[in-house]
């Protein structure tokens, strides 16, 4: 004769456990959904920001160009001459020129506004790779870096 355990969970305990499992599942789902929703929202926001910033960039580029042109107009040769004359300066004649030797001075240098070739920054990515990689990329990169950390690179 088999022994039957003389114990049975009371119905309210079964209900409580069922509801508990259900609620736990619901919470997990809600947490995951919230995380996805949050990430989606951030991504959408970032996308809109990128679009807005691009428009802003175009505006700024135009503004920079305009200000350069305005500055050039203000400092144009006729404007500068007029200003100099109004301030009491006079044009020098060769007879009035005094020449002195300044050790180390090699005269006016021509305009240099950018580095010469050799310092190549054209291949630089505008968006960092961390913003481009997927979850899997990130995971594998992490695993690889861990692996190389354990193995050592021998250097």
């Amino acid at each position: 004769m088999r022994l039957i355990q003389a114990f049975k969970l009371s119905p309210w305990r079964i209900h409580a456990r069922t509801v508990g499992f259900f609620l736990l599942t619901l919470v997990v789902v809600l947490v995951v959904a919230s995380v996805y929703l949050s990430i989606s929202g951030l991504a959408a926001n970032a996308g809109l920001d990128a679009y807005r910033l691009d428009l802003k960039r175009l505006d700024l580029e135009r503004e920079i160009a305009h200000r350069k042109a305005t500055l050039a107009l203000i400092t144009s040769a006729p404007a500068m001459e007029e200003r100099a004359l109004s301030m009491g300066f006079e044009k020098i004649s060769p007879d009035d020129a005094i020449y002195i030797t300044v050790p180390g001075y090699t005269g006016r240098r021509a305009m240099v506004v950018a580095p010469p070739p050799g310092i190549n920054e054209s291949g630089r990515q505008l968006v960092k790779s961390v913003y481009r990689e997927s979850l899997w990329d990130w995971l594998f990169t992490g695993i690889n870096s861990l692996g190389s950390g354990f193995l050592g690179d021998g250097s």
Partner: protein, 590 residues
Amino acid sequence: MKKGFTRYHFLGILLSAFAVLIAVQMVRIQSSTHADYLDDWAKEYGYELRTIESERGYIYDRYGHLLAGNKEVYEIGIELQFVRNPAAISTTLSNVLGLDYKKVFNAANTEYVPGKQVYITLTDFVEANKIKELSELKTQYENNNPYGEDPELPSLRGLTWTAHLQRIYPEGNLAANILGFFTYYDRESGAGYFGVEEKYNTLLAGVKRNVMIPLDPYEMQEIPTAPAGASLVLTIDREIQRTVEEILDNAVKTNGAAGGTIIVMNPNNGEIMAMASNPRLDPNAYWENTTIFPAGVPYNKAVNQVYEPGSIFKILTMAAALDAGVVTPETPFTDTGQIEVGGWMIYNWDRGAWGSQNMIGCMQHSLNVCLSWVATQLGPTQFYDYLDRFGIGHRTNIDLAGEEVYPLSVPGDPMWYTVNLATNSFGQGVAVTPIQLLMAASAIANEGQMVAPHVLKSYIQDGQQFDTTPQVVGIPIKAETAKTLTDMLTISLEEEASDALVEGYRVAGKTGTAEIAVNGQYSSNKTNASFVGWGPVDDPQFIVYVWLEKPSTSIWGSIVAAPVFRDVVQEIVVLLNLPPDEIRMSMKEE
């Protein structure tokens, strides 16, 4: 415990039914006929077609002064869908911008047809200050009449403006003959014309292309951009250019000349420091081009026009003869006032006989008879071989658009006769551009090395500055020959007490007066007056070319062109920080 249908069951069924309804609705949306419409709508509005265009590159002088840039201007238009009060728009634009009221009113009253008639351009290239005025009015009206709901109150709803860039030349007509111009009014296919704007149009322009930009933020990738066109740094010095232009304009005016040109170059590396040409155009108003330069008038006389140079060409003949060893500075020559070459009699400029001379005297008095004799001593083969080495008959390939060249007739050509040897020796029957002769003369100023004239010092592209390398394009004569001829020309000027002499500085140079052929006959009262000179003779830092076309106060180069050379040198030595020879020598000794 209570059995049967409880309120919990009811709640469960209700929530389940709600969940099922949601699922059903999702399926219905996905599979309904509206789904296709929504899909199409998303495709149509999910992307923006944008034309990305590089900003046209800047042009600077050698010290970074902006000679050509871009300023912000606006296109004004009407978005028909949003117009509330056409009369207010018309009145405002008429008052602020001076636009025609009726024309604007008709445009603002145009019926809005979705997809077909949505926007009308009213005007373009409106300055930023005008837009500020319009913007303030629009805001004011909007505050008083939100959304333009009250038709009795003014509203500028529907009036829009879009910014874009317009080419600007802040220095006005300064160096206009070097810069050229950009036809900015043609927003679709504007291009550079003349000067560096044309020569480097591709480099300056950058790229222009249409791209699709996703508006779905989830699909937003790195938005493609068009890097700005390359910027150019010219060899031009703004101060020298301005000074030279003033001197040229003054010389043309006071001498009653038809026009002229002055070029200042560094003979050591071919950098053009200034290149003035008269007349000039303000490239900001480039459409006046056809008025200022009617047919036959070149945009830049320094490179776009050939002419018979006259006696300044004698420096090449003498350089060739000295280099070939045919003559020395002391070689005697008895000038009888005429010489026969190829059956034609050649005379001096004054039809006089100058008696016993040496080669220095021949150059000093600019004797056609003597130089013809020198050319005959040299012989046609050697003479034309040297001219070829000096680049005569070839383009200099200066980096300015539209360089002209006139072919040099040589023995064997149908148009060449023996007398050409004589006439060519003193610069008649041969045509050159000023830049061509300047390049040839640079060999004499630069120890026999002829440098390529150029105006581009460096260019800036993709954030890097690339310098150009000066090029020696030939060594037509030996260094000793160059020095000997420079000394001869210096002595010639000094003994002649030329108007080209500059106090404190030893310079070498040669005048030229060339009669102009009119209807096949040389006219004695219409000439081209020229001067080419360089200095300081012991270490030349500049070479200056002056050409005045058809001066009316005097026909002679020594009277009209030589003083212009002096005026230029007097100014540029200060701008180049070149002390007088005596001080410079003492500084060197220190």
